[in-house]
Point group: C2
């Protein structure tokens, strides 16, 4: 399958939804991808099955504060210099790239990498959505090492990390990203083809494409974009349950920057009925309560969207008075396994609640 | 010249004085050096002249908080793994090592490096004393690059930095040291023999040895250790002026940890006469005022010492009630050049005063 220029906006729209409120706004990544496709014509998207076992596969993405990333633009060389250094360290050419997280701007990061190296993108990712920290990836859950990783920044600086474990790696990379200007490109969790096939979350790039396309097509034919989105998500198989959790107006918002994260709570009052929804977030939306009852919790997806356009509103763009719908979706099954939940479930974010699947919390589809 | 086991305590004592209140207490470095000398017998100290121009010379030291370094011990492999990685990056064996700063514990750091690699220590350093930040070195003042540098930590983690400039390098290395546990070993400013000869501060290791020995010998023969220290400093030629600035009791102390540094002010009341000295510090002592008049300012050395033992009291060990003498010494001439002062003079630390040489501020030697 090839990703043509006309599909980039769909991919950005779908990746924004899968960001679950985080991952950063894909707008600048979309511009970079459009510039890259001018040079290369189209991007090749291959399935995991097509990877030779001995291939070198490089997950790519940006680390840092989304708020910085919209003010401080990349210099355009970060991606290629990081990838070239990884090749030098491993002593092997990179055969394919993939997004470390499909959600938000990072869902488009490997497009630029693929254009630079002339390699395909693998239809998979490391998170199935977006998460705020780099150890919250299926590759860490499955005991693969983040290292050697290569961090490159707009100032031209480069760092290679070989840490004792993946949590130290997150801390080191996070602190480095701050020292290097608040945002940096990172190639991490270098994989063999066999490791990618056994562990990556399959199909997430095409899922982002499909959900983005579904929203666009619904608009084109005057249909309800939320019904189209939910149906498209279910059809991916990767997100087998999707539901519109709430419809209302933002009436309260608390948001602060704490420990490098955007942390807060948004309150949405329902139209008509006396309903209220509260969502807590740390970059990503973590838990949604309807009238005090939990109706979705991480790693299941919770995304706040403009109720007319179905554009995703990332947590840093939430504002008082916005008319929104809240869509929830089941996380990929690999993220709901017991060990995975210790890394990406509610307790990993300090929430004192056990994970419950969104389809059990919301037996009826109200979309 | 060879450094025998019996000389290590002199070196530690001299390095502590040259730390100007900072550089960390050399006690643990002394223990490590003693353990290393058990294996190698003695250390070879060579002069800069003996270096071939094409030699690879590696400045070594620890980066992080001295307060952490006395609680969290090294694992013993940091130094060798950092040096071996530098050899791999440069594609050349290291021919000699040197202390990035002679002051404090870092004055002894290359001894461990030399023992691990079986190479000599060069009789020179990068600061002629201690300074709190890694760009405050003669190598940065002379436009040499800190990179590639290799940072290694007790947890086994390693990072390679290649930054766009030396100030970014300091920020990145500082943040990394925090992420890796608060203290880490760093090999930085890799030099050719020719670069070391043209730029390093010559003779500072033997100066530390001589001043430490002078204090010990004065104790042994019942003489005044301060007169002996000041005379030994002058005889090095590197610190051509030395003076006992004050004699009194610590009557007030403000000290806080701010931005990763130990920052504060100590007040010393004179014995007898109605004299008072105030010293401001940021890890190192920066400026000393006697009755409101500046009598020494960075980069000249200001060291607070126990008035009986002439043991150096580093800024983190200052306490109310200590009976102390304050010794000042002229910095090596290379640090007093106009360009050097922009990096290590009073303005570099936010002090709104111009540098004045200690010998002009204190025309009479009162030691």
């Amino acid at each position: 399958m090839r990703i043509e220029r006309s599909m980039l906006a769909d991919l950005a729209r779908g990746a924004a939804f899968l960001g679950s409120g985080g991952g950063g706004d894909p707008y600048y990544s979309l511009l970079l991808a459009e510039a890259a496709i001018e040079r290369v014509g189209s991007f090749e998207l291959i399935s995991l099955d097509e990877l030779p076992d001995g291939a070198l596969v490089a997950p790519c993405g940006w680390i840092g504060a989304p708020t910085v990333s919209v003010e401080k633009l990349p210099n355009g060389k970060e991606t290629v210099s990081g990838l070239k250094r990884l090749e030098k360290i491993v002593g092997q050419k990179i055969d394919a790239v993939l997004p470390i997280e499909i959600g938000g701007g990072n869902g488009l990061a490997p497009l630029i990498a693929a254009a630079e190296l002339g390699v395909p993108i693998v239809d998979c990712d490391g998170m199935g959505r977006a998460f705020p920290e780099s150890q919250m990836t299926i590759f860490n859950i499955r005991n693969l090492s983040a290292c050697p990783s290569v961090i490159t920044a707009a100032c031209g600086s480069l760092a290679v990390l070989e840490t004792d474990n993946n949590l130290t790696h997150e801390r080191a990379a996070r602190n480095l990203s701050v020292a290097l200007g608040g945002i940096a490109h990172m190639v991490e969790y270098p994989l063999t083809g066999a490791e990618a096939k056994a562990n990556a979350i399959p199909g997430s790039v095409s899922a982002a494409l499909a959900t983005g396309a579904a929203i666009r097509e619904a608009h084109e034919r005057g249909a309800d974009p939320f019904a189209a989105l939910n149906e498209a998500l279910r059809q991916t198989g990767l997100y087998p349950y999707a539901i519109t959790l709430f419809d209302g107006k933002i009436t309260d918002l608390q948001r602060e920057t704490r420990g490098g994260f955007s942390v807060g709570k948004v309150v949405i009052d329902g139209f008509g009925a006396n309903d209220q929804m509260e969502i807590d977030f740390q970059n990503e939306n973590l838990i949604a309560k309807r009238n005090g009852e939990i109706c979705a919790v991480t790693p299941d997806l919770i995304t706040v969207m403009d109720r007319e356009t179905a554009d995703t509103i990332t947590t840093e763009k939430l504002k008082y008075g916005q008319r929104v719908k809240v869509v929830g979706a089941a996380a990929p099954a690999m993220l709901r396994e017991e060990k995975a939940l210790t890394f990406v479930g509610p307790n990993a974010f300090g929430l004192e609640t056990a994970f419950e699947p969104i389809e059990q919390l919301n037996p009826k589809d109200t979309s």
